[in-house]
């Protein structure tokens, strides 16, 4: 009986996973279609990839997405880290104020945050574009960075910085040599979250962008009205890159573990 239940639950898991991967496989499959159709596979071709790489708007959208994600990640990580460290040593009132305010963009629906930015920029007569989009991205990324660093700081011995300074560190050295190394995990996690938030963002970008500046999401949104197989190619490429990165990040440590001789049976077990 137990065995049949295990078989049932693994079948169930594979069905759910199939649901998750169906559209991804579908879009990758049809990105190699020789015709425009999304339902008939008429032959293998890489022409949509060629077309995509020669499409300036797509290439620029990718560029904008990456540049914004990189800058927003860098800035929000630095600001978030510094602020989190400051918060850990601040009065409770200040800490609460920042935490609560940070919750706003995270609890608010994206669209509300987005129109907030839009109203803000227009009221100040700031013409929207790359800079406004970047500012908005930085603004919604920082709370996530702080959120992922704070728990690590809380776990830190509160006397750590004092101990470092007692041993002759300046406050800055204490931060660099003692605090930051210990919250590194949180900082990296925060940076990753920030990057993926920025990379995937659509709603906030849509409302804060200006002439000639689109990221991948906006490009897809404004070009799906007509059948546009270059979007399949673009999607497929995102799938390739994400998969490759995740495999590198996740599987390599697993293989390394395996070499050390841990749990050989694990991978075969899900089947």
């Amino acid at each position: 009986m137990k065995k049949s239940r295990r078989i049932f639950s693994s079948i169930y898991m594979w069905i759910v996973l199939a649901f998750f991967y169906l559209p991804i496989v579908y879009v990758v499959f049809f990105s190699f279609n020789s015709s425009k159709s999304l339902s008939n596979f008429t032959g293998f071709s890489t022409k949509w990839y060629e077309e995509m790489f020669s499409n300036r708007s797509i290439m620029e959208a990718i560029m904008v997405t990456v540049v914004i994600a990189v800058i927003a990640t860098a800035v929000s990580t630095v600001v978030g880290t510094i602020t989190a460290i400051g918060m850990s040593k601040s009065k409770k009132v200040v800490r609460e104020f920042i935490t609560q305010t940070n919750n706003l963009p995270m609890l608010n629906p994206d669209i509300v945050t987005a129109i907030g930015f839009m109203l803000f920029f227009t009221s100040l007569r700031i013409s929207t574009g790359f800079v406004t989009m970047l500012l908005a991205h930085i603004a919604f990324c920082i709370p996530y960075v702080i959120l992922s660093i704070m728990p690590r700081l809380r776990r830190l011995d509160p006397n750590m910085a004092e101990a470092a300074m007692d041993l002759g560190c300046t406050p800055w050295q204490a931060m660099w040599r003692v605090i930051i190394p210990q919250i590194k995990g949180g900082i990296i996690a925060g940076a990753l979250v920030a990057f993926s938030m920025s990379f995937d963002d659509f709603v906030i970008s849509l409302f804060t962008t200006g002439p000639g500046i689109s990221n991948i999401s906006i490009y897809v949104y404004s070009n799906v009205k007509r059948v546009n197989p270059t979007i399949n190619a673009l999607s497929a490429i995102i799938v390739y890159v994400v998969t490759a990165i995740l495999i590198i990040v996740n599987v390599i440590p697993m293989i390394r573990d395996r070499r050390k001789g841990k749990n050989y049976e694990a991978i075969t077990e899900i089947r």
């Binding site: 300036r56 620029e60 990718i62 560029m63 970047l134 002439p211 000639g212 007509r226």
Partner: protein, 374 residues
């Protein structure tokens, strides 16, 4: 901030260079035909070398943009909008464009709100070749083309699948076929307050420029009934592929999109109901806050030129504003020979041009949202 912008431009520039080389192998006739023209250095000539262009979606052969960029050693940032209203709101939101392509009534509104700058007439050289009917329409909202140069023109009508919809029904019912329950769930309704209401007004025999509250309410009621009984899909540019593939039986379409659909699917037919329709034209204008007006003027003139109009009308199916291009397209070996939708009806006695009317626009926008929300 300046530094940052510079950096980004640099990045974008390199990406562009990469794509440009690939682009140059593009197949467009426009690109080929403009190569003989002498190149101009925009930076030297106009003090700037980049323009932001804001046009309706599916409204251009993008190859003409690369050709322009090459010829003027400039950069064109090309964005598209769904509706005139979206475009207008975007401008209010602080986006600064150099060339936009709104419809007649929107230009009327923008002129009245002092949002446009006059064109440099010295740079405009194509007026002589324009269709007189188009110029007549233009003069109604922009006397002598002080602010605008027409881009495309057309009407609104019904595209229907001859294998699904009986020709008699269409002829007899006109717009009211959209309420014929025989075709329930088989309808694409155009998602635009102006066109949406136009159909209702015309079906009821009213003017689309009415200010009469009763007539507006009657039209709203017509639309609600249509919405509640017919389960239409509200679409914009999706309708093009939808009808090419024959997904639904009837669609409200602009004549240009219809011409393209007809050219792709021989089962499709076009009709402009006798009850009358909206005759419209879209024109190129330069907003007050344009940052590169000189090059914008040049761009407008370029877009109105024979080669470019030919390339664009070939690609998208909208009717050219140039008589010579229009003639070529409808000639025996033209792309739109005997294509009903390509030639704009000029003698419809119930046909109207839409005029901007703040009160009406406001009322309609609210009512239109309510219609769509089933």
């Amino acid at each position: 901030m300046k530094q940052l912008q510079k950096f980004v431009k640099l990045c974008l520039g390199s990406a562009m260079a990469l794509s440009m080389t690939a682009c140059s192998s593009g197949s467009s006739s426009a690109a080929a035909s403009t190569t003989q023209t002498e190149t101009v250095d925009a930076q030297k000539e106009y003090g700037c070398n980049a323009i932001n262009v804001y046009n309706a979606g599916e409204y251009i052969d993008t190859a003409v943009l690369s050709a322009f960029e090459k010829q003027y050693n400039a950069r064109v940032n090309y964005d598209t909008f769904d509706s005139n209203e979206t475009m207008y709101t975007k401008l209010l939101g602080g986006s600064s464009y150099d060339v936009i392509v709104p419809s007649d009534y929107m230009i009327e509104r923008m002129i009245s709100e002092d949002m446009l700058q006059p064109l440099n007439q010295d740079q405009q050289t194509n007026e002589a070749d324009y269709d007189p009917a188009v110029l007549k329409m233009r003069d109604a909202y922009d006397k002598d083309g002080k602010y605008s140069v027409p881009y495309f023109w057309g009407s609104v009508g019904l595209v229907y699948d001859k294998t699904v919809v009986s020709e008699d029904d269409i002829k007899n019912e006109g717009w009211n076929i959209l309420k014929d329950t025989k075709y329930k769930g088989n309808i694409y309704y155009y998602d635009s307050q102006r066109d949406g209401f136009m159909v209702a007004f015309k079906a009821l025999g009213y003017s689309m420029n009415t200010e009469n509250e009763d007539e507006i309410q009657a039209a709203y009621k017509w639309l609600r009934e249509m919405n509640d009984t017919m389960e239409p899909a509200y679409v914009t540019d999706e309708v093009i592929d939808g009808m090419v593939n024959g997904n639904k039986g009837i669609a409200i379409m602009y004549s240009g999109d219809a011409a393209y659909v007809l050219s792709q699917n021989e089962n499709m037919a076009w009709v402009e109901p006798e009850q009358g329709t909206n005759i419209w034209s879209d024109s190129m204008v330069i907003p007050k806050n344009a940052s590169c007006a000189g090059l914008a003027n040049e761009f407008i003139n370029y877009m109105a030129s024979y080669d470019v109009q030919l390339a664009n009308t070939t690609a998208v199916g909208y009717t050219s504003v140039r008589s010579d291009v229009e003639k070529e397209m409808t000639a025996k070996d033209g792309d739109y020979y005997e294509n009903d939708a390509y030639t704009v009806r000029e003698d419809g006695k119930n046909d109207e041009v839409f005029h901007y009317n703040e009160k009406l626009t406001k009322a309609l926008s609210d009512l239109w949202n309510k219609v769509k929300v089933q």
